[in-house]
């Protein structure tokens, strides 16, 4: 099938403003949007820039706004994306654009680092390892699925209007450790998330849960962190 692509282009060395690049691509219905973008880059216009690494929905580098909805270009099929023979592709919102579909992820990762996304435990692990029951592991299973693609954070209106909001992805990462029975840093992380730029900026819009390519219940994770802050308990 023939698909008309409208891609937001911006080259800081040449352009004062972004503009729409329009391309007609011959693609199979079962192709992914990424395949079509590669066709554009390899066969039509080699100056098009976008990130992609694994191309199989694991590395999270090709998050983009496709027909107004954040998605991984490598996970979204043409037949699911196309609307009236057209696909509109833009960089994810709320982060500075470097070139074409590539954004500066540093503000996003700064929030990620702020929640201390690593195991905090000063005690000896014991003879073999830190044990955990299947129930305790299941408690934070959903939030371990995050691949840091930034689909959720850059779909959040609170993040769009105020980039210092820590954002859903960082909260999911904090959730992954707060509810881990082997971790001891919950109080520290909850201190960060209890700040004015923490979880309270979340207005339960649900965009994050809606767009997560890993189907993480992001809003629920944020709600559980809010509950932990209110009750002072993590269970």
């Amino acid at each position: 099938m023939k698909v008309h692509f409208k891609i937001k282009r911006f080259n800081p060395e040449k352009d004062k403003k972004s503009y729409w690049g329009e391309y007609d691509v011959e693609a199979e219905e079962s192709d992914r949007v990424l395949d079509a973008l590669q066709t554009v880059k390899w066969e039509i216009d080699g100056t098009l820039n976008f990130r992609r690494s694994c191309a199989h929905g694991i590395c999270g580098s090709d998050a983009m706004r496709i027909n107004g909805r954040n998605s991984l270009a490598c996970k979204l099929l043409i037949r699911d994306a196309v609307q009236g023979g057209k696909i509109v592709v833009e960089p994810i919102l709320g982060l500075p654009v470097i070139k074409d579909l590539i954004v500066d992820m540093e503000p996003f990762f700064a929030h990620y680092r702020a929640v201390m996304p690593y195991l905090i435990n000063d005690t000896e692990p014991g003879e073999r390892e830190r044990l955990q029951s299947p129930e305790e592991r299941a408690r934070f299973d959903d939030s371990t699925k995050c691949i840091l693609c930034a689909c959720c954070t850059t779909s959040c209106p609170s993040f769009w209007v105020r980039g210092d909001y820590v954002g859903p992805a960082a909260i999911v990462q904090a959730h992954r450790f707060i509810f881990d029975s082997r971790d001891q840093g919950a109080a520290k992380r909850l201190d960060v998330l209890g700040e004015p730029e923490g979880v309270w900026r979340c207005r339960t819009v649900f965009n994050c849960s809606e767009v997560c390519p890993r189907d993480i219940q992001v809003t629920q994770a944020i709600g559980e962190v809010k509950a932990a802050l209110i009750t002072g308990r993590i269970d």
């Binding site: 014991g126 044990l131 609170s158 105020r162 029975s181 109080a187 802050l229 002072g232 308990r233 993590i234």
Partner: protein, 159 residues
């Protein structure tokens, strides 16, 4: 095929003890948390208060009877001893007014915080809206608690 034993966490396991200790935590920054909880509870209360006010005005009483007299029958007249029923309605409307104003002010604060990144502008609008909302609340409470000045308003029936 080797069997994997089910992990059992001993009560004397050091990290387990620290984990349990971590379960009683006192978050440091209380303001935003309290404001967030207030929005939820006041919002829920306002649904019932506003709906019952609407039901009272439009279903129980007729739309055509929404006169000053109807108001006086619930809020009382300035200078006259108020009955228990009047005190009930005064309390009802004081809670409705107070919650609505504070709920609105906090909502406005969030919107201003989101969109006015220049601090003096944010604080300017915050002070302005707080003054306006305090003025409306105080004026409303004064009428509620002191009663309606029927003579000044020229009500048809003075009971």
């Amino acid at each position: 095929m080797s069997m994997i034993p089910t992990p059992v966490i001993a009560d004397n396991n050091p990290y387990r003890a620290r984990y349990l200790a971590n379960q009683k935590m006192k978050p440091r920054n209380a303001f935003e948390r309290v404001a967030w909880q207030f929005m939820r509870y006041s919002g829920l209360a306002l649904v019932f208060l506003a709906l019952s006010h609407w039901g009272l005005q439009h279903l129980i009483n007729s739309v055509h009877d929404l006169t000053l007299d109807a108001t006086i029958s619930r809020w009382g007249i300035a200078g006259q001893t108020a009955t228990l029923e009047i005190w009930f309605w005064r309390a009802y409307y004081a809670v409705l007014l107070g919650l609505a104003m504070m709920h609105g002010l906090n909502g406005l604060r969030q919107v201003l915080y989101d969109y006015f990144h220049y601090r003096p502008l944010y604080w300017g609008f915050m002070v302005l809206s707080t003054v306006l909302i305090v003025f409306v609340s105080v004026a409303g409470l004064a009428v509620l608690l002191l009663g309606v000045n029927a003579a000044a308003t020229g009500a048809a029936v003075v009971r």
